[in-house]
């Protein structure tokens, strides 16, 4: 189970890094946080799970989106 979750996280991480649309990257990042929160819950760490879900999927996603919406969404470099 943990292997499956981690493989999923890794796949999402590669997507986050390689996507051209920054918003998709942010959503994938939030999904990584949620999956890792689930992972932490399975690993008997409920406190870390709550924090990761609240911080990773909530606060940091809000801040990322807050920046993206005033700037640009495409990764135009390269």
């Amino acid at each position: 189970m943990t292997i499956l979750l981690l493989a999923l996280v890794l796949g999402l991480a590669v997507y986050t890094v390689s996507t051209k649309d920054l918003l998709h990257g942010i959503i994938a990042l939030s999904a990584i946080s949620l999956l890792s929160a689930l992972l932490f819950y399975l690993l008997d760490a409920p406190d870390v799970a709550i924090t990761e879900a609240a911080v990773g999927a909530g606060v940091s996603a809000v801040i990322f989106i807050g920046v993206i919406r005033y700037t640009e969404r495409r990764d135009t470099s390269e």
Binding site: P46, T51, V59
Partner: protein, 264 residues
Amino acid sequence: MKPGTRWTQFWTVLSFAALAAVLVPVFVIDAPWPAAARDYVEAQGVREIGSYNLVSAVYLGYRIFDTVGEIIVLIASVIGTVAVFSAAGAVLAEGYEIDLRNMSDREKQEIMDDSSFTLPGEKRHTHALRTHLLEVVTGVLGPVVVLFGFYIMVYGHSSPGGGFQGGVIIASGIVFLALGNRMESSTMLTRPPVLERIESAAFLVLALASFGGMFTGTGFFGDFLKEFALYPAGFMMIMKVSIGLIVGAGIGYLCIAMVGREIT
């Protein structure tokens, strides 16, 4: 392609591979996990700290200074982030102070558009994500979420949760209130000056509480309420509530700053 580019790529790959190779030994340690700390906390944690949640016992008891350091990082980060944002021309959270009565419909509409959740490149109408439904629901849910945050904050000693987690939930409640009530009736809680006051007062309480133990013989950040035993984990409660208020007000401020409108 410039002549230096390929050389840079070579160095990039080389250094990356070198660091990757170096990291491997740390990841493959197979020694048994040392249990000394676990055994001590399991045996003594409840008696010494008064918390059934052993993570809280470590987080808010034995290693309280790490937690305080983290909260200080948060405070500095909020101050810095808000300062940088306002320097960049995003005047934050202006919407709450605007008197709507003297405005024309078009100006109101502009403010609505500016404060919507639209993203660049979005094809829909500008404030499609900011529906009336959203306002009503978040406005009603806001106080409930804040209350739930307090619950998580206060009951962290016997169940998962604690000051920080509760604080984040309070912050999301504050953001809900801000989203729900921003145009018609503004809540005190969503005004940046009020949030800043809460944050600074809680920080002052935290800093002063650190001195308490020095007078009662339990040392810096020591449990100075130990002898009075007003409530199990009384000192931990002070820490939790002040941390929760700092986090709630700070992160709430940060998020409101992010959804505030921009004036350039």
